[in-house]
Symmetry: D2
Subunit: 426 residues, 4 copies
Amino acid sequence: MRIDKERIQEKNQKDLKPHQEKFDFLSNYLLKDGHDVVEIINKLSKFQVAIPSWALGAGGTRFGRFSFQGEPSTLEQKIDDVGILHALTQTAGAISLHIPWDVPKDYEAIKQLATSHNIVFDAVNSNTFQDQKNAKESYRFGSLSNREKAIREQAVQHNIDVIDIGNKLGSKSLTVWLADGSNFPGQNNFQNALQNTQDSLKDIYRALPEDWKLFIEYKPYEPNFYSTVIQDWGTSFMLANECGDRAYTLVDLGHHLPNTNIEQIVATLMMKGKLGGFHFNDSKYGDDDITVGSIKPYALFLIFNELVYGMNNNPQNPYPAWMIDASHNIKDPLEDLIQSLEAIQESYAKALLIDQDQLRLAQMENDVVRCQEILQNAYRTDVRPLLQEARRKSGGALSPLNTYRSLKVRENLIQARGKNSVASGL
Amino acid sequence: MRIDKERIQEKNQKDLKPHQEKFDFLSNYLLKDGHDVVEIINKLSKFQVAIPSWALGAGGTRFGRFSFQGEPSTLEQKIDDVGILHALTQTAGAISLHIPWDVPKDYEAIKQLATSHNIVFDAVNSNTFQDQKNAKESYRFGSLSNREKAIREQAVQHNIDVIDIGNKLGSKSLTVWLADGSNFPGQNNFQNALQNTQDSLKDIYRALPEDWKLFIEYKPYEPNFYSTVIQDWGTSFMLANECGDRAYTLVDLGHHLPNTNIEQIVATLMMKGKLGGFHFNDSKYGDDDITVGSIKPYALFLIFNELVYGMNNNPQNPYPAWMIDASHNIKDPLEDLIQSLEAIQESYAKALLIDQDQLRLAQMENDVVRCQEILQNAYRTDVRPLLQEARRKSGGALSPLNTYRSLKVRENLIQARGKNSVASGL
Amino acid sequence: MRIDKERIQEKNQKDLKPHQEKFDFLSNYLLKDGHDVVEIINKLSKFQVAIPSWALGAGGTRFGRFSFQGEPSTLEQKIDDVGILHALTQTAGAISLHIPWDVPKDYEAIKQLATSHNIVFDAVNSNTFQDQKNAKESYRFGSLSNREKAIREQAVQHNIDVIDIGNKLGSKSLTVWLADGSNFPGQNNFQNALQNTQDSLKDIYRALPEDWKLFIEYKPYEPNFYSTVIQDWGTSFMLANECGDRAYTLVDLGHHLPNTNIEQIVATLMMKGKLGGFHFNDSKYGDDDITVGSIKPYALFLIFNELVYGMNNNPQNPYPAWMIDASHNIKDPLEDLIQSLEAIQESYAKALLIDQDQLRLAQMENDVVRCQEILQNAYRTDVRPLLQEARRKSGGALSPLNTYRSLKVRENLIQARGKNSVASGL
Amino acid sequence: MRIDKERIQEKNQKDLKPHQEKFDFLSNYLLKDGHDVVEIINKLSKFQVAIPSWALGAGGTRFGRFSFQGEPSTLEQKIDDVGILHALTQTAGAISLHIPWDVPKDYEAIKQLATSHNIVFDAVNSNTFQDQKNAKESYRFGSLSNREKAIREQAVQHNIDVIDIGNKLGSKSLTVWLADGSNFPGQNNFQNALQNTQDSLKDIYRALPEDWKLFIEYKPYEPNFYSTVIQDWGTSFMLANECGDRAYTLVDLGHHLPNTNIEQIVATLMMKGKLGGFHFNDSKYGDDDITVGSIKPYALFLIFNELVYGMNNNPQNPYPAWMIDASHNIKDPLEDLIQSLEAIQESYAKALLIDQDQLRLAQMENDVVRCQEILQNAYRTDVRPLLQEARRKSGGALSPLNTYRSLKVRENLIQARGKNSVASGL
């Protein structure tokens, strides 16, 4: 299934007038305050977020999994789903594959399909947290960190295979996330596990094409765990340094202990040129993987403040890979992703409205009250007209969610795919 | 010192035109969406938050205390400071006294002074967490919960004295906050401490005038503590039920363990008719007592959603007593309070914009995506024009902070009071 | 499969002499310190913990489930497994069933089987967090709290059915644990959800036989959640009070926010006569459901201190129902349960060694140092000889784990049941 | 005041016989299990922990400070107090000074006094979290991280002065702990603050004598804070690497977010040769600075497991500097320190009892159950006879706390120093 640009334009019609009014009114005041609205719209348009293939179906819980009707069950259908998202939002111009869930059969056909949707292949993700059918070795007691060489080698080889697959599709980076760790004190020798992980990552790094990057994810815990091998940004940063220049830390919003100051981690990594990728989601209690911006939108804004600062001031840091890493248990996954994309763009737009010069000045003067005012002034601005304008100019929907519903996308998908289709993977 | 209404109007002049434009533009769209803007403005105007006398000076830390120049050193000066806040914001029409820091000498004069500022006396606060000079007994090992009867009696009597003082000023409620607890396992017998606390609170309750309310605050911990006697809302609720109909739980935003869902606590208490008071502040890590809305404004909005719902649907719950309970270490306390008041009004205004009928409908249909949209639609609205209009109509400043600065209030206070004045209390 | 008492005695033989030496040496010193060792051994022997049927197989994770070979696949086999545990440890004399996973076909045969193992049927557990095949209504959006009457009625009826089943087996209590809640702000109306939960619980309570108790469990969150309907002990306590005298709160160790002082909750509930049941497990980060005592054994000891105090001083509180609620992903479930039972007995024994009279005295004198010494003196004692003696006297194994291994229990189970048996349920 | 060795021996007399019995009984079994008891006793005797000068008086809270009678008010008296601790425990053979609270007047006299107590001077601590009288610049907005060069230079110079003072006393390391950070989002530019901190630390490092080490402490938050400049071990590790080979991370137990796996941090740092120092204390909620081992003794044991492993297997890591960093609000500080020293020695002794060979073997076999058994077997052993024996052989007290009390040390100190002496510093 594919959404016609014309259908979107049709649906936009009735909202065009109020949009124009709101946009003009807002632009006018922003211009007076010295903002370059054209440039902001431009930046919003260019900001593209990868959709992971696994986010297009319903997520699992330990009690079971309610599948959502019309889920994509093939890689082609997943690309189609991202195509729908991108047509509507114009900000989902990339897909992030998960191997072995998404191994293409016909690479050329897959690439053409993606191109037809205007979608590129972002970072590829390996999977050594589940045993694959017919796999010789089990990851029950770890993969890259495992005590046994044969198991580590299998896990390293899998990552190299993933690179090969990604390479054929045009990906330029590999994301490694490990569920390695221990469930009980004493189970693991921390130093050996870390050394093994470091050695395995170096092996993978050596297989990396020259124009590729390696992203090393961290996470403090999984349910039932006592420790994880890469528990925090410090460990990931250390490992990335050991690997080499093209190895980077990847920050996932949900992978932090309670109360962590994530924006400061982002700032530190960008200053050191080591922020490679960023996974968006939100959470109330732990790694809840719920819709971006649904719980702590101000924290997201503060993070974007650092990201914008880093992109402007840290040439030593590459342009980060953006991805949504969420799980959908009770929402239509595509609707959830539309909401996430909106929240990301909103935070980015607000961060772009921060008067950086004034902020530096207030900071120099230790005028803490004014520092806060400057941030809040940007945050309190209703930036939705800017987002709509950016989408409108790119041919997207003024209101992606409403258009999605009024075009009856889910109903069409169900009709085409059936009620019991199941996304491969989790 | 006192701010002339005329001076405020003068300062408003230059911002009046843009304000009117923004307000008209916003109102127009809100009206189209079915909102009663007049009613919203009306509600905002009526919403008054008490300023605690101790928030007008700099707070202490365990390393020391940087006092802020021009601090109020008498009760009269504290009332003047609240008068300044109220003149500017029109939302600080009450002061909350702390005894023994604020014992009036001449009650009539104090009442007249407050009246002249249009300020009433809100809940009075007792202090049994510090030993007073010449006190017979020490609270080192607890006050209302103490093992020794004589100490409990002294603490109960102090509360009764506080009621008497409040009564003479027109207060109608007593807030009890305890630093009672233990620093080490085994130090306290939990059951005895709780029983003593319950008995002491009942003694205080018996002394309460018929038209008074008793507010019981809870808090999970203090630095260096292992336990507190009233650690959570459940304990406070239980104690309030034991005392009687006019005893209530008081919620302080900062007094919760990491990740607590505070809005649900608010909803539960209002449903049971037991939310008596609410203390505003914000925090990143613990009970940080920093400016309201400076860290988690969306959580504050969700709380206001419950408060608005409760005020509309829970006749069994009294109108809660609102107070800011913050501490100022590096900001001018009055500027900090202006920022806090703005954040409170902002959250309240946004909560008033939630389309409750649509929300109930979406909830009935289990349309989780739309539920979120409805909340976010309200939250994303820039409500500052509504706040400004509410202030303007009441004679306040369009921009309280700018006016405060341009009127050089702090400079005037320093001139009048000196650089080394110190607020009594902490 | 069944373990012969004689086989256990045989295995005990070689350890008897050192055991006797250690026990005599310890007893001697304990007697000098005024302890009644016979009484302690007696209490340890009487302390029986229920094993939940679902803990006998491997637990699930969101990524999959590694089943453990030789898992019990029928209710009969589950009872046999508990029989093995009880034969070895003499402290697992009860099983807690989960309906619909454990519906007996032949009640008499099941009862006889349990009796033959010396096992009784403890609290029965209902399940409204999963949809059952052929169920008319889905719990996707809640069960007892659901907006729709038909769904609530189905859930209430299920609980009544569970009571009936339990009644036929000799159970005397029903445990209700809900996964009801919401994943996003706005999804639920907190007050309605709580009111529905309360009404549903009352309906269940009305169906309770006169000699039964209702246990209401609480939990702050599940992965992916934003709120749960019964988030804390305060809510459970409130609901229990609304239901009536035979409704109680059930405390599960893992169901708390970070840093919660659980021992104080236990003390409060016992003082109010409302601690009905207790679920043992341990955790590092959240509700990890790992082996009891494997992470925070001192916290468990402090909790047992309160439990012992309450059992001695709170006639208003019934004798609590004890159960292990753990999940096993990488350990043999029976070995894990043996470790859990050992940790529970150890904590209980140490709590029995606390010199309560001296503790009260030190507390009265505010001698905080001595209070701590008294607790630590008990905790630092190596009580393993006491546990061994209690088991020996009851015919159990001196070292249950070693005996389990040397009797090759798992190997026998695999031979009897096969490698691919799967415990029904999760 | 000074405790005679003879007095201690006298007091030991009555406990000698039971001690010998218990020690013999335990040794006997340990020897059978293959432990080298003589070597363990030897290691315990050699393990010396520095006492910080500020822990000898009562700590402050934000509400006030209850001073303890007989507090040391001069450096000489502080050294005397450590002398008392060391005489009793034989494990407090070092003092850690805090400048400017402890600037000696007569260096030779001070050194002689310390030598007479058998005490050496451990790491010296600088203080840039408080403004000193007559200081030119204020640290209100930071010290080493401050935006203003003059302030940074003052802070750097202070650290250099501290090194000079320490050098004259025989110290070999400097500990830098910063309260630098921000109270509100936007107040600080994270990158600038980090860069300034790094540059300042390098300046200090350059002034370090060749045989000195620099310890960089980290801490996630202070009350009222939104961020700290060195928030975690990763930041400290990065800064230490930037400084050079003799710069190290210092771990303080209380300086971590909820649920942090500290033992893994210790293992990582030792593997990388960067664990320079360790501060002992304990906490229930945050940085509570309460008695070591009073809340989470098992976590302390797991940390010691890593420390012992690292000391045996990581020649790349220097021998760490040990210090107690606690605060005493309601206990006699000396009694509290005696309890802390006991808890440290206990954890160390238990860690020494872990059968490392068996543990490696069980780990290699993925026998998770046995791994846990091996740790718990060591932990459950009552090691107090080992501690007593180590002290006895060194001339210390079998029971330091009882001896302290029976010698009426505090009473003597009060008589000598008066009731109102106040420890300089906090």
